[in-house]
Subunit: 209 residues, 2 copies
DNA sequence: GTTGCACCCATACTTAGGTGTGATGCGATA
DNA sequence: TATCGCATCACACCTAAGTATGGGTGCAAC
């Protein structure tokens, strides 16, 4: 039996039809993937490890809420797992809406098993990529949070390409003080060069967008 | 009559049905947009100003080639105008394929006029954004092309955060020489600070990807 | 063969960046 | 109240960066 560490990606299957759930579950297990099944979105949201690696396979027709609406709700909840949608009674506007909202794929039932496996594989890859980027920039964000307000201010101006002298004038400080804050920013951010710091500053901007 | 300068975005309509073409043309004109119509992809590809701002409204069923295939062909031809697809006999897999390939929207005929207008507006906005980014990084690319091989080499190491001393050692040069190349790179690239240069170097990397 | 360009370097000098010592004041918290 | 983090600055010192002067080579185009 494969070990399920917190690093093992989980495929979350949300479908109100139990036989569909079981079928999908065994399909994904047959290719070595780990799956969890849920009959409702509520049940899914109560589950843990939603912040771990994985993806979601979501039926469009669910009790109480449309899978499409739920897809948008996930975003506002900060759950950024890639979503694969499936439906038995879909139409083109539905699929277009789903894809616009960032779905990895939109499969009509009955689908070919290989199509589902491909979609899930793609979704997991996309998640892995996002996570890799995320861990990098979260580390930067954490370090940036340890800066004092002044240090942040100086860092912003330094990475904007200003000279210590100009920064001092702009903030009404002496040049020495700027150098001190600048040095502290470099140290706290773990930047080994100005180029490093510039890239971190840009990563912070991307983060906030 | 509105003036059509090279800055006016053009909506390229590709549809083999003439009445459809005319209808779309007048719809778009009614909201102040400039449109061109084509009965075949061939006719479209012979047109000029395909590198100007605009977007493409493409019927899926075309003589000789599927609109979906043509969408992919456009990419390989380097034509990066956003594409809005429409069809009278579409299905979900078609729409999903189109959206995966980057289509702005996929409309089933008959569509609501407002939906087409919205799609085209979105497409034009997307094009405007891409163009703005593009002109920036193309300018950087041009300037980078004026650097001598050594200057490029030094720029790469500088923007990697290395000290002149380290660069000199790595390239087997004296530190003065490195400074000269470095200064030349800054001048030719139009960088007013090291931070500037670092961002340009990163833009170059993005470009190549 | 001269002209132009890329490339290289030494010396000398100026400005910018970085650090350490030592000191002051402020506000929050233990 | 004492201590800690933050912010501030002066003085001194060192390294790094940038520029100018002046000179050298090799290569390719005209």
């Amino acid at each position: 039996m494969p070990q399920v560490s917190s690093e093992t990606p989980v495929v979350h299957i949300v479908d109100d039809d139990e036989s569909q759930r079981l079928g999908l579950d065994s399909l994904l297990r047959s290719v070595g993937l780990t799956a969890r099944t849920y009959g409702t979105t509520h049940e899914f949201l109560k589950a843990d490890r939603l912040d771990g690696p994985g993806c979601i396979v979501l039926d469009v027709r669910l009790p109480g809420i449309s899978g499409l609406d739920f897809q948008e709700e996930l975003a506002s909840l900060g759950i950024r797992l890639p979503v694969v949608l499936m439906t038995g009674h879909g139409d083109i506007p539905m699929s277009v809406r789903a894809m616009k909202a960032g779905a990895v794929d939109f499969l009509s039932k009955p689908f070919r098993e290989q199509d589902m496996i491909d979609a899930v594989t793609l979704a997991l890859n996309r998640d892995r990529l996002r996570r890799a980027r995320e861990t990098q920039s979260v580390a930067v964000l954490d370090r940036h949070a340890t800066l004092s307000p002044r240090e942040r201010e100086v860092m912003a101006l330094v990475t904007a390409g200003k000279l210590n002298k100009q920064i001092a004038a702009e903030l009404g400080l002496s040049e020495v003080t700027v150098k001190i804050h600048r040095g502290a920013a470099m140290r706290k951010m773990g930047a080994r060069s100005l180029a490093d710091l510039v890239r971190m500053a840009d990563a912070l901007k991307d983060q906030s967008r």
